[in-house]
């Protein structure tokens, strides 16, 4: 039961920031779905490629991300995703707010004495 609550906290935190993590990845370079998925799974932000595409769909709907097809050496064209100007602006806003917010939260909740 305790584990479920702890896992739920982690899920809620990831849910809140995963869109910005996608924006952050795409700011460096346009990426295709699999690439993005591997990065985010590797960082423990998403569990599978199934989580990624609904996020990409939402970002595209909001105009923060756009897609384009690029020929691939192996076969069908790959669909790449890149940041739009709005996406860049949104990411910048997030960065400005994230650090102060994280610092405030840390100050409020304090450190876990159980791990000391």
């Amino acid at each position: 039961m305790l584990n479920m609550i702890v896992n739920d906290v982690g899920a809620q935190l990831r849910k809140g920031v995963v869109e910005f993590c996608v924006l952050g990845c795409l700011e460096r370079d346009p990426m295709y779905g699999w690439q993005l998925s591997e990065n985010l799974i590797g960082e423990g932000m998403i569990a599978s490629i199934g989580t990624l595409y609904p996020v990409l769909a939402r970002l595209r709907e909001k105009g923060l991300v756009s897609s384009f097809d690029e020929p691939s050496e192996r076969g069908p064209a790959r669909r790449y995703y890149r940041l739009t100007q709005n996406g860049t602006a949104q990411l910048s806003t997030f960065r400005k707010q994230w650090k102060p917010l994280a610092a405030k939260v840390a100050a409020i909740v304090g450190e876990d004495s159980a791990n000391d």
Binding site: N7, W34, G50, T51, A57, G75, R79
Partner: protein
């Protein structure tokens, strides 16, 4: 080898597409196309490795349906399926249901198999059509042999007449279903989706 790759990939993509039936059409298309792009043209071993990395289509579908990160990053990538009891009952009904309750028992087993995500679609098709196909083939052979007997002078006592064939066919059907039931049970023991 390339054909085998295509089959492996095609089977996986079909399973994925089926599993995503409740997901918004555009997202479903993006996911399937995204996976297809990555798996296209890979050698079988590499395709299998990537499919194993991707995980169970049902798990991907549940994630896509929720549109949320996983409750726990440490959770197993393979979702729990029906319980062992369900699997055993379904395979037993396929194997012996027709003997206990003629036709209906076997049909009940097949319905359970088709409702389950435990097996690939091709496995379900084999379980449904395989026994009948084998019996039909054997009966056709017997029929042809018995006709040649009528025309020829020599009577082979080892070749059954048509009346016997129906009984033999019935017994063969029971035997085939028994084998298919055991095969389904064996296939259900996998810890991940089949890739070949």
């Amino acid at each position: 080898m390339i054909e085998q790759t295509s089959e492996v990939v095609t089977n996986y993509l079909n399973e994925l597409n089926d599993a995503l039936h409740d997901v918004e059409a555009a997202v479903r298309r993006d996911i399937v196309n995204g996976v297809r792009e990555e798996l296209h043209g890979l050698e079988p071993r590499e395709a299998q490795r990537r499919i194993a990395d991707l995980g169970d289509p049902a798990f991907i579908a549940s994630e896509a349906s929720e549109g949320l990160p996983l409750a726990s990053a440490h959770a197993s990538p393979v979702p729990s399926r029906e319980g062992v009891g369900y699997t055993v009952v379904a395979t037993l009904l396929v194997a012996l249901g027709g003997v206990i309750v003629p036709v209906l028992g076997w049909l009940a087993g097949l319905v359970m198999i088709w409702l389950s995500r435990q097996w690939w679609r091709w496995e379900k098709i084999v379980a449904t059509l395989g026994p009948a196909a084998v019996v039909a083939l054997v009966l056709a052979l017997v029929f042809l042999l018995s006709r040649s007997q009528e025309r020829g002078a020599v009577v082979n006592p080892l070749i059954p007449v048509l009346y016997d064939s129906w009984w033999s066919g019935g017994l063969l059907l029971i035997l085939c279903n028994l084998i298919v039931g055991m095969w389904l049970l064996w296939r259900a023991q996998r810890t991940s989706r089949p890739v070949a």
